[in-house]
Symmetry: C2
């Protein structure tokens, strides 16, 4: 395994303070699945139950835990617990992997007194090695004993793999005058692309929402956040985003429409938290030295704009040019062209760092290339492209492609 000792240069300065959320308890243990000297198993307990919403990888080779989450979500039942391990994804491990997972679910169910379909599971790490359920089950007593409403940061750390920093975000909002809290944490730094764009992310709130509305809010916010980021266009077999609502703030179930104005502030805060986490995942992109925002406007419609934006964001030639701090807008034109969506060559307007570099189908005569280069020498790069067809728009985020990515991935057995 490559030695990753340096924290990403794009990391935030601190991990936020997490408030307690009524009805959520967390604990971690060091089961020694792969890593030494750190916790690698997380348990979250919802003593009063929690409404669950989820978005899972669309991979056709999804891991056993992802398949189990799908089964649970389909029941519509409340969640009672979640079990996450790092160091082993238990993906592509056949029937033996399924059995190992079920063994841990049974053990936790016995320890907490709940049914297996009330327990959500995630695993992240190496593909193709059967999960060692005995190592996890040996610590079930500790996991239950350690449960506390304060263990947020150690929870966020227990799920990391190649990540160079823990990723957390907190928000607050009012629903009909009642304060609700939203806490979230995530992990992921490679194999990052829609859909889903992170390997694991969990969000917790004390809002009280019907399951169908909570799922709709999650799906909508995911499209604008985790499904709008890409590091290397690769999609994991384990991508999981789960959101749990305990209802401890007692808002009441009287909201039956996700577009009810009473939810506007909550939805904005929820999306903002997901964006924060998704951006942190990009900022920990393997080898990343620059955080890149790409906004496409003027497309045939919003989905077309997203296709174009992702074509730019996933282009190795664009990503290496930005790594080299080269204002190579020709490669952006190339990426617009290969996207396959309508674009009017003679109307495309590209800006880099706010400066217009192309219009009327060619470079802007005498544009200030030095100013472009200076912008590219910074850590936060902003590129906009108007393709001149209609009014569709989308924004996506990515990072540059550097020697660091090769170093990490030509070596690490993931």
């Amino acid at each position: 395994m490559a030695k990753i000792e340096k924290i990403s240069p794009l990391a935030p300065n601190y991990f936020p303070d997490f408030p307690e959320i009524g009805g959520v308890e967390l604990s971690t243990v060091a089961a020694g699945l792969k890593y030494k000297g750190r916790d690698d198993v997380l348990c979250v307990h919802f003593p009063m139950g929690a409404t669950v919403a989820g978005v899972l990888t669309r991979s056709k080779t999804a891991s056993a835990p992802v398949r189990q989450c799908r089964v649970n979500l389909a029941t519509g039942k409340q969640a009672r617990a979640m079990l996450v391990n790092s160091g082993n994804s238990n993906a592509f491990t056949g029937k033996a992997g399924d059995l190992a997972m079920m063994s841990t679910i049974s053990a936790l169910g016995t320890a907490l007194g709940c049914e297996k379909e009330e327990i959500y599971v995630s695993s992240t790490g190496v593909i193709g090695v059967v999960l060692d359920d005995k190592k996890i089950n040996a610590h079930m007593g500790d996991l239950v004993d350690n449960l506390s409403p304060r263990n947020w940061e150690i929870a966020a750390r227990a799920i990391l793999t190649t990540d160079t920093f823990a990723k957390g975000a907190v928000r607050r909002a009012k629903i009909r005058g009642v304060d609700v809290k939203i806490n979230g944490f995530a992990k992921g730094s490679g194999m990052i692309a829609p859909d889903m764009a992170t390997m694991l992310a969990y969000v917790f709130t004390d809002a009280d929402l019907p399951q169908n509305i909570f799922q709709a809010i999650l799906a909508d916010a995911t499209d604008k956040s985790f499904n709008a980021i890409t590091v290397d266009s690769d999609t994991s077999t384990s991508d999981t985003l789960l959101a749990f609502a305990t209802g401890a703030a007692h808002v009441g179930h009287d909201i039956n429409d996700m577009n009810d104005p009473a939810l506007a502030e909550f939805r904005a805060a929820f999306l903002d938290l997901l964006l924060d986490l998704a951006h942190q995942v990009v900022r920990d992109g393997e080898g990343a030295t620059k955080f890149i925002e790409i906004k496409v406007t003027g497309a045939e419609n919003n989905p077309a704009a997203k296709v174009i934006a992702l074509s730019i964001a996933n282009s190795p030639l664009v990503k290496t040019a930005i790594a080299g701090e080269d204002a190579n807008w020709g490669r952006i034109v190339m990426a617009v062209g290969k996207a396959g969506e309508a674009a009017d060559r003679d109307s495309i307007v590209i800006t880099i760092g706010g400066q217009k570099v192309t219009q009327k189908g060619m470079a802007v005569s005498g544009y200030d290339e030095a100013a472009c280069t200076k912008h590219l020498q910074g850590q936060n790069i902003i590129i906009t492209v108007d393709v001149g067809i209609a009014s569709g728009e989308a924004t996506v985020w990515t990072c540059d492609l550097t020697h660091g990515y090769i170093d990490i991935n030509a070596d690490y057995r993931s």
Copy 2:
């Protein structure tokens, strides 16, 4: 520009001997468009005319020359000449670029006495800089004076940009007992992906074929060759494959079906030549140290197999693992999963270098990882994946992703 002094380790040992082809004359000059001390303009003359078939980039921001080729092909007329320059792609240069191109076409038309729709053009190199037509037109006399049926190798060299070696291939076949020759050359090493998978490739034959049959043969062979290779998943704005048939071997026009058995040997030789050129393009992939063949079987149908094969071939995680000589089959599973085509997790069989590494949804117990690693330490890597659904199959070719790719592209203004 990065200094590329080393020839790709995957280059063939020699450039083949090209026979003369009746009705084809070639010349080159050094116009100084970008490169110093080398020829950068190629002229091909067909004094008796030639039937033309073509496959062009599907980019929505295609260059002026690509657009012009489309116009010419639509006329169905015979070609009389071709003009190619390297160092400037004249792509995304607006109306000024169109005018510069037309100026060179007019000058060549006057010099050779032919119409503009009989002249095919290609440009390759930097995007976004208007072609300096005066530099080319100043050499029209030399281009006409230098025409010779023997100038194949210097022609292949004049069209190169970041390529580290010239790419040529020759084949022979019989059509109804008559010997016909096929010569081809190509350039391209980055921005390589379907469709098209090379920036420029030209094929010449003295066979006499109706245009519609020649076009059908080219399209079919392109699907199995240039559209089955990928270096970095990026598609150029200038990709052009043109094939010219002079008819000098006098085979006769009495073949009206591309599936006529009389064409079987010719079609096989034609495909073999295109494969040879396409593989040479991959072998010159930027930073490439390994040539990788990926064969997918057992898919729902042939197109689905190709989608899965390209998903594997384009995965940065698979490509970096191979660069690192790591038998990381988990990433192959990931790439199968993200392709979105049907795959049965528990039936997937992956082989590396002929050795089975997975079956029944997990690793083959006790497979010889050392033998896999030894295979990956070689230059020619063969991976097969059976996805266990039906009988669709496809083979694609790619190269590994290395520090060399980053070196070249974080620096080169293409």
